[in-house]
């Protein structure tokens, strides 16, 4: 009797061998993911509402990040030529001016040096403004000579170093670095980017909680099934699986909808932004989400969905024990 029983047990274990286990495992994954999808479709309206919340939560950071990316392109276009204007002391001899500008021309950190003599300045003033009558009041040319420098660097710190060096020259009365607005823009961009990360973090948390709560309700509604499954020998992983797939589908579909929303929003603002940009510089094009960014959005949505489900499952499945 004992021998027969042992033999029987051995046969049972043999029947569910490794190959069979792998096959049954992948079969179970396939079946469970399909069922989770089907459950989503059974209550289309409720699922759609949840998905809409997820989509908005994911689309907002996606939209903001791509808007910032486009702004970056804008500042890259504008930042091309920071320059330093050297206003020289009145009364410096013209030969000395020539000599100074030639010396500056030899420096590696300056791309170009342009000397504007007081006479040339006066000519330009006459040509470009309507205030030439004003000059009648002066006995002699009141304009100083100006040297306009184009540094080869665009780094604010280095620009400032050059500016200070120039200001120290005896012939220079004032060296003005025309970059205040570049700094402001850079500061604004840094702030906006930090804000986008904070918002992105908060909205990711929203996705996590929304999926977690939805999955928690699914768990509650399938309490009996969980109990019976555990009684007939379901492992924790087996019980968990359908809910993790639910979360995964929510995350994935939420991200797909978010992608559509973000692309739509970018397309909607593209035309007016381009019209506006054309007034200032050429060649500005609003870029939508690229392939890598789209994949990132999908991956983030998927992981957040899975994570939210994992939180709910970890929190609630242990509570449902037969007994």
């Amino acid at each position: 009797m004992a021998a027969k029983r042992e033999q029987k047990r051995g046969a049972v274990q043999h029947r569910v061998g490794l190959g069979d286990r792998v096959r049954s495992w992948s079969r179970n994954h396939y079946r469970v993911s399909n069922q989770a999808l089907a459950r989503l479709l059974v209550t289309p309206l409720a699922s759609l509402m949840t998905l809409a919340v997820l989509a908005i939560a994911l689309a907002l950071p996606a939209f903001i990040f791509s808007a910032l990316k486009n702004l970056d392109q804008l500042t890259a276009g504008l930042e091309t030529d920071p320059h330093i204007s050297l206003y020289l002391e009145v009364g410096v001899a013209p030969e000395r001016l020539d000599q100074l500008s030639r010396t500056l021309l030899l420096r590696d950190d300056l791309r170009s040096v342009e000397l504007i003599s007081p006479e040339k300045g006066l000519e330009d003033f006459r040509a470009y403004t309507r205030f030439d009558d004003l000059l009648e009041f002066f006995d002699e040319n009141p304009l100083p000579a100006v040297i306009i420098l184009m540094p080869s660097t665009r780094e604010p710190d280095q620009l400032e170093a050059i500016q200070q060096e120039m200001a120290a020259l005896p012939e220079v009365e004032e060296a003005r670095l025309d970059m205040e607005w570049v700094r402001r823009l850079a500061a604004f961009m840094a702030l906006a980017e930090r804000g986008a990360w904070v918002l992105g973090g908060l909205l990711s948390l929203t996705v996590l909680l929304v999926v977690g709560n939805t999955v928690r309700m699914t768990i509650e509604s399938r309490r009996d099934e969980i109990l019976v499954s555990k009684l007939v020998g379901a492992t924790d992983a087996w019980v968990r699986r359908p809910f993790l797939y639910s979360g995964l589908w929510y995350g994935l579909f939420g991200a797909v909808l978010a992608w559509l929303l973000a692309q739509l929003a970018l397309a909607l603002i593209s035309e007016p932004v381009q019209a506006l940009a054309a007034l200032y510089l050429n060649g500005f094009v609003v870029h939508g989400l690229e392939l890598s960014e789209s994949s990132l959005l999908l991956a983030v949505g998927l992981l957040l969905g899975l994570g939210g489900a994992w939180l709910a499952v970890g929190r609630h499945l242990r509570d449902i024990e037969p007994g």
């Binding site: 009797m1 029983r5 029987k8 096959r23 009996d224 099934e225 019976v228 499954s229 007939v232």
Partner: protein
């Protein structure tokens, strides 16, 4: 060989109630025994200890060669796969067909679907419900529902079959049918332990009877 061994088992619930006290008995492989006693005597607790739905406060419970105290939580599902259980309220799932209810343990254990379908039909045939496989169990009578529950308990050919008041809601004729079904499984080698308070039925069947009273075993015999 021993199928179940209780050695000085006590179970005290957190509220201080002693459900079982100093319980000793062996159930041999291939045996059929009834477990009886007034309600609250500890019958369900005893079955729960075998299923590891509860852990004893004292003593040892062995199932086959396994000391259940040494079984880690992760192994509990595999332990349960060796046992078939029939419940009083049959615990059927009404969101799926009779067939799918019976197939659940096989899906969980990872049987090949073709093999599983064959076994499900064999189990349904044994309880006389083969023609009902596509129905939702909610449309069946309570006697039929109970037999679906039995089919689910035996579909994976467990060595040990437990039943908690399997005839609780059934009329005497149906109850006797159900008990005869258990006797059939016992005849092909399954160890069977049935908790029931239907004394007149138990006495007619002439099997070993364990009587619990206030958590103690007060009688053990035929």
């Amino acid at each position: 060989m021993t199928a179940i061994r209780f050695s000085n088992v006590g179970k005290r619930y957190p509220n201080g109630h002693d459900a079982l006290k100093g319980l000793n008995f062996d159930l041999d492989s291939g045996e059929l025994a009834f477990l009886t006693g007034h309600s609250g005597a500890g019958k369900s607790t005893l079955l729960k200890l075998i299923m590891l739905m509860e852990r004893p406060s004292r003593g040892e419970v062995w199932v086959g060669e396994q000391d259940l105290a040494r079984l880690p939580r992760k192994q509990i599902p595999y332990h349960r796969r060796h046992i078939g259980v029939v419940f009083q309220n049959h615990q059927l799932l009404f969101d799926r067909s009779v067939f799918d209810n019976v197939a659940l343990p096989l899906q969980i254990s990872g049987y090949d679907p073709v093999d599983a379908a064959r076994r499900v039909r064999a189990a349904l045939d044994k309880v006389g419900l083969l023609s009902r496989e596509k129905l939702n169990p909610v449309t069946l009578s309570s006697g039929e529902q109970q037999r679906v529950g039995i089919a689910r308990a035996i579909v994976h050919k467990p060595k040990l079959l437990l039943a908690d008041e399997p005839t609780g809601n059934l009329d005497p004729a149906l109850s006797e049918d159900i008990m005869h079904l258990f006797e059939q499984f016992n005849r092909i080698g399954t160890t069977v332990l049935i908790a029931s308070h239907d004394l007149s039925l138990i006495n007619r069947l002439h099997h070993r009877v364990l009587v619990l009273k206030d958590g103690r075993l007060v009688s053990d015999g035929g």
